[in-house]
Symmetry: C2
C-alpha cells in the first residue's frame, strides 16, 4: 500500500466531490503551470490562460483527442502560491454527471496530467507549508465529523490552535536542549544549578502535554463515535427506548448508505457524540431455530458494542434471565423502564429509572451514557488520531524523564537524550521531522481528490 | 407533489454535490442581493460584500446564531446577470463533510435564505432566459447520461442546437398563421392560391418534425438504456457470455450503489447504449424448492427485460427445453454458443454463432443486440423525453393536417386552428407557452440543488 509522493512538479487531477449524479461536481487539478498546460482543452484557450488568480472562467471544455465537447463548465482558477495546495490550481465545476466527470478526467490525462494518488493534494499543501501535519489530518477528520462538536473541534485543529502550541513547546524544548549541550561541551562555563532554572518552563510544558494526552479519548470519542447496544428480555421496552432516542436526539447527517441488516440500527447525536444505537432481539432462551439464530447474532452485537444498555421491565421486576445477564456483563448500564406505570416496582440500586413512554428520566440516562463511554467526560479538543496520541504521550514521558533526571542530579547527557526524544516526537507530530514513510502512511489514508 | 416556484426574489440555498464524505462539497445560494444578505456570515463580511462577479473569496464562515465557525471555505461569487441562474449567486466550496454542509445550510437559513425546491435553480435560469425548456431538461439528462454518446447528445441539446431549430420553425409557423388570419379577416385581399405559396416551407418543417419524431427512440435508448437478460439451459455458457461482455465493453461509471441481489448484474456501454446485463439462473424444470425459486425469479427478470438473449450450447444442440422457451419467446435473440469446439453442430437458421470462450462472433452479436433494441438503429440526437416526443409528434400531426387542408382546399379557419395547435405544441416544447403547472411538473423532477 506504500505510495510515493516524490514529484510535486507533476500535474495531478482527481474528482473532489462524491460519486453519483447531482447538480454539480468538482474536478481538481494542481501543479506548476497547470493552467497553461490544460488551456488547450478550452474552446477559447486564452480565456483560461489569461485568467487571474482567484477568478472564475466559464467555457466549453473540448476533448483534445476527438475535438468533441466534454461539458460547459466553470473553472475556478488559482495561481501559486495563493491556492489551497500552494500551487497553480484549477477546480473545474462541471455538471454533476458521472459520465462528464470521467470524460473530463480522461481529457485532462490526455493533456499531460496524471490521476492523483489518495491525499496527494493535501500532501502538496503540506509541502508548500499551507498546513502542518496536525492541520492536514484535521482536514480529513473534518470530512468524517458527524456532529457539530466533532466538526467544531476538527475546525479548531485545522485552524492551527493546537499546532501553534505544539510548535511553541517544541521550540522551547529545542532551546533548552541547546543550553544543555552547551553545558555538556563547555562544562567550565557551567552556571550555578545547571538546568535548574529551566525546570519551571519544562514543568509547564509537561502539564500542557499531560492535558493534551488526557484529552485524546474525548476527541476520539467525538470523532469516531461509539456503538451502543440495547439489550433486555422480550417486552422490557427496548424498542420504545430506542425510539425515544430517535425522537429526543438529532439524527445524524451521514454519507454512509444503509445496508440490509438483521437488527435495527440508527445514528444519533448524543451530546455531540455520534452514537450508533442497535436494537437487539430479545435474549430469552428458546428452542425455535430461527429465534435462536437471532439471539446468537444479538450476542455478537453485544460483544462488539462499546456500551450495553440493559433494560428491565420495572413492572415485571428482575427475572432470573436478567440476573444472569447482569452477572455476566457487570459493565452494562442498567435501565429500570416503565416508571410511568402504577405497577412499577421500586428502583433497585445501580439502576437508572426511566419511562421510555413519556421520556421522564431520559436526559439523566443520556448523561449517564456519555459519562460511561471512554472519554465521555473529556472535551472534544484533544488530538483525535491514535498516531498523534502516541506521539504526545511519548513526548510527555520523555520530558517527564528529563525533569526527573535534572531533579535527581543525573548526568546531563541523559537529560539531553530525553529532551531530544521529546522534541523529536513533537516534530513528528507537526510533520517537521516525520520520515517520508510516515508521510506516505498518513496521506495515503485520505481519499482520492483530497 | 405539485410545488410553486412563484417567488424568484427569495434567496434559496441547497447542496449541489452528492451526499457523502469527500474532499469538497458545493452549497449553492441564489437570489437578488444574496451576496450582501449572507456577508454577515463571513468573518470579514466586507471581503464577500466587495467581491466582484466571477471571483473567488476565501474566508471563514461563522454561524450567526452562536458565533462559532462553520468552515474555512472558498466562495465563488457571481453577480447578476452573469451567473448560471442569471441572479446574484454564491457557490460555497466547503470541505466535503456532511456535518459541515448541514451546518452551512442551517446558517444560511438563519441568515434569511430558504431551502431550495427540486430544480429551483434551473427554473430561475429558465425564467432569466439562460436556457429554454429543452436546454433545461438537457441539464438534467446530462447528469443521467452514462455513456459518452448520451453525454455528447445531451450536451448538444444543452448547447441549443435542437432548440434553435424549434424556435425557428415556430416563428415560421406563426408567420404563416398571421398570413392565414389576414386572409380570414380580409377575404377581399385574398391573393391567388391562398396559402399555396407557403406549402414548400410547411412541407420542409413537416419533414424536420418527422425526423425529430423518429429520432426520439434512439435518443431515449442512449439516455435511459435497456435491460438485457441472458437466459438458457444450465451449461449453455450464459456466464461465459456475460463475462465476455464485461471484458470487451467498457463498464459504466455509475453513481448507483450495488445492493445484494439474487442474480448477477453488470452495466456496460454497448455502442453508446448503457446496458444492464443480467445473468439469470438456469431454466430447467426442477423439483428442488430453492432452485425452483431461482427459476421463478429468472422468469420475472425475463419478463421485465427489454431484450432476452437465449443461449444454446452448440455442442449439445437444441433440447426440448430450448424449443419450448423459444416458442414462448419468439422475440428472444438466439445465440449458438461454443463454436470454438470441434463438437459444435451446424448453426440453425436465425441463430447468431458465437464463441464466448475466444470472442469470435461477439462483435456481430453486439451489433445484432443494438439493432434489435427499440431505437437502436437511430441516432442519439433526438429529444429523449417522453413529454418532448409527444409534443413533437403533436406538432407534426397538426402541421400535417394543416397541409392536407390547404391541399384539399378546405376552409382557412380549419387551417388556422391546426397551425395554431402546431405552434402551441412547439411553444410548450421550448417553454415559451408552457403553463405554470407544466413547468412545475418538469422542474420538480430535477433533484434538489439543480
Amino acid at each position: 500500500m506504500q505510495q510515493r509522493y516524490i514529484d510535486v512538479e507533476e500535474l495531478i487531477v482527481a474528482q473532489a466531490t462524491p460519486p453519483g449524479a447531482s447538480a454539480l461536481a468538482i474536478v481538481r487539478l494542481a501543479g506548476p503551470g497547470c493552467v497553461d498546460a490544460v488551456a488547450a482543452g478550452f474552446q477559447r484557450p486564452e480565456r483560461l490562460r489569461e485568467a487571474r488568480g482567484r477568478s472564475l472562467v466559464r467555457g466549453t471544455f473540448i476533448d483534445p483527442r476527438d475535438g468533441k465537447p466534454v461539458d460547459d463548465l466553470v473553472a475556478a482558477v488559482f495561481r501559486a502560491p495563493e491556492s489551497p495546495t500552494g500551487q497553480d490550481q484549477v477546480d473545474f465545476m462541471t455538471h454533476g454527471s458521472p459520465a462528464v466527470v470521467a470524460a473530463l478526467v480522461d481529457a485532462l490525462v490526455a493533456l499531460g496530467c496524471r490521476r492523483a494518488l489518495p491525499g496527494e493534494f493535501s500532501f502538496r499543501a503540506f509541502v508548500a507549508g499551507k498546513a502542518d501535519l496536525v492541520e492536514s489530518e484535521a482536514i480529513d477528520e473534518l470530512s468524517r465529523a458527524r456532529t457539530a462538536e466533532a466538526r467544531a473541534a476538527a475546525l479548531r485543529r485545522l485552524g492551527g490552535g493546537v499546532s501553534a502550541e505544539i510548535w511553541r513547546m517544541r521550540s522551547e524544548l529545542l532551546e533548552i536542549l541547546a543550553a544543555c549541550e552547551v553545558l555538556l561541551d563547555y562544562p567550565e562555563d557551567e552556571v550555578e544549578g545547571g538546568l535548574d532554572g529551566r525546570l519551571p518552563a519544562m514543568r509547564a510544558a509537561l502539564d500542557a502535554l499531560s492535558a493534551l494526552s488526557a484529552a485524546h479519548a474525548g476527541a476520539r470519542l467525538r470523532l469516531e463515535g461509539a456503538r451502543v447496544a440495547v439489550a433486555g428480555r422480550t417486552n422490557a421496552g427496548k424498542s420504545s427506548l430506542f425510539n425515544r432516542f430517535l425522537r429526543e436526539e438529532r439524527s445524524i447527517v451521514s454519507g454512509e448508505h444503509g445496508t440490509t441488516r438483521d437488527w435495527i440500527e440508527a445514528s444519533v447525536d448524543l451530546e455531540g457524540i455520534p452514537l450508533v444505537l442497535q436494537d437487539t432481539a430479545g435474549l430469552r432462551s428458546t428452542t425455535d431455530a430461527i429465534e435462536a439464530e437471532g439471539v446468537r447474532r444479538s450476542r455478537l452485537l453485544l460483544d462488539a458494542a462499546d456500551l450495553v444498555l440493559y433494560v428491565v421491565d420495572g413492572t415485571a421486576g428482575l427475572a432470573d434471565d436478567d440476573r444472569d445477564f447482569l452477572e455476566a456483563r457487570p459493565d452494562a448500564l442498567r435501565v429500570w423502564n416503565k416508571t410511568d406505570s402504577a405497577e412499577c416496582g421500586p428502583v433497585p440500586a445501580g439502576f437508572h429509572p426511566v419511562s421510555a413512554l413519556d421520556g421522564i428520566g431520559f436526559q439523566d440516562l443520556a448523561l449517564a451514557i456519555v459519562a460511561k463511554l471512554p472519554g465521555g467526560a473529556g472535551s472534544a479538543d484533544g488530538l483525535a488520531g491514535e498516531r498523534q496520541a502516541a506521539l504526545v504521550e511519548a513526548a510527555r514521558a520523555s520530558l517527564s524523564d528529563a525533569i526527573a533526571s535534572i531533579e535527581a542530579g543525573e548526568p546531563l547527557d541523559l537529560v539531553s537524550l530525553d529532551l531530544k526524544a521529546a522534541s523529536d516526537s513533537l516534530g513528528e507530530l507537526t510533520g517537521e521531522t516525520a520520515s517520508p514513510d510516515v508521510l506516505d502512511t498518513i496521506f495515503s489514508r485520505f481519499c482520492v481528490g483530497k
